[in-house]
Symmetry: none
Subunit: 232 residues, 2 copies
């Protein structure tokens, strides 16, 4: 009956944390307990988890900040937030980061368990996050998306901002093919609306500026659909 699912639990109240850990352990989950965001992030990086349960209100580094860091490293891992009161703002921020759910303290442990099961039972998603590629060559450029550096053959190189970097990476991964606007928006901006759309346009303009060092490369617009990075 062992589920061998590993959960990272980050909770600053030691009593509550211990009780919750025990409860989940009894229910066949393997729990790593961290008492603040800093320790939480260290533990997260040390092993592979299937799910994170994060208290939002914590000293040193709160749950939302921790979540953002985790999301930068792993964009798929499910996140559940615990909020002390029904702080709507925290809840909305959590969803914006990419939360899968939240629970208001005090909550019913059976319901938490049901949520965990529901989330972990979801079918695995399509791109099984294969070894993350971060070095690309295209046209006269080489591009390291981990270091966020775009280098032109002539030695010229640009440091990319996080958004520039993500967008270029998605374009490169779909080289010569369409990158649908709403897919990029939902992935990078986590929301697709008029404003994020304009923001994306601005970044497309920035990338075009970088890429014009190689005139054979073009980011063309497919009206109403998205963009396409292509050569020649």
């Amino acid at each position: 009956m062992k589920s061998n699912k590993k959960i990272l639990l980050v909770e600053d109240d030691p009593n509550f944390g211990k009780i919750l850990k025990d409860y989940l352990t009894i229910n066949n989950y393997e729990i790593s307990l961290a008492v603040n965001g800093i320790e939480g992030f260290e533990k997260f990086n040390k092993s592979e988890f299937d799910l994170c349960i994060l208290d939002i209100m914590m000293p040193f580094k709160d749950g939302l900040t921790l979540a953002k860091e985790i999301r930068e490293v792993n964009e798929a891992i499910p996140l559940i937030f615990l909020t002390a009161k029904n702080l709507k703002d925290d809840v909305l921020k959590g969803y914006k980061i990419g939360a899968d759910d939240y629970l208001t303290k005090p909550f019913d442990s059976e319901i938490l368990l049901a949520k965990i099961k529901s989330i972990l039972n979801r079918k695995p998603s399509v791109n099984t996050e294969q070894k993350d590629i971060f070095e690309f060559d295209f046209g006269e450029f080489s591009f390291n998306s981990k270091l966020r550096i775009l280098t032109h053959k002539e030695g010229n190189s640009f440091k990319l901002s996080p958004k520039e970097n993500q967008l270029l990476k998605m374009l490169v991964l779909n080289f010569d093919d369409l990158l649908p606007r709403d897919i990029a928006l939902n992935k990078i901006w986590r929301d697709a609306n008029y404003f994020t759309s304009r923001s994306m346009d601005v970044y497309i303009a920035k990338l075009r500026k970088y890429l014009e060092k190689d005139p054979s490369l073009k980011i063309i617009n497919v009206h109403g659909e998205g963009f396409r990075l292509m050569q020649e």
Copy 2:
């Protein structure tokens, strides 16, 4: 920005249902509203939805029963339950059926919206993705309906507008066969009347212009019926 996501909303309170429907419509979702479980299941079977929001307490057929029926037909579609009070039992039953989330009435509409986005933005699960065909060859042309590019053998190529693209795709899928006017109108223009019909004529003229590069291809009119793309 249209999301073109379709949501089935099943809610027996007509006032609340209407308000919720309007709110979600404003936020660019296409809502089908049913007032009870029976109607809900009928609507569910009539078209393709991306998400269902089900009130649990309903006359005739409650939300949990409806959910079970939906799950038998479709095991992947996300379900969100609405419960009048915090009825723990209902919540747990919901999760057992395979709910993705639940909300306790009264709830905050912004939070519902955040949940919907969070759920719909999840990567589609493995078995959902049916491969859509988007590359076609006919006559001296190859046609990529994803990039909306029609290429002639001689290297000449045209960027198609969305409507040109959809119409050509329907013609090609019915190559040498009749494409009934009203079928194309209802699919592409979502309405068949005098004006959309004139509009379609304009697009037929545009396609003819493109296709005249290969004189063996013809879009012929079948008076009163529709059009036929044929070769010879």
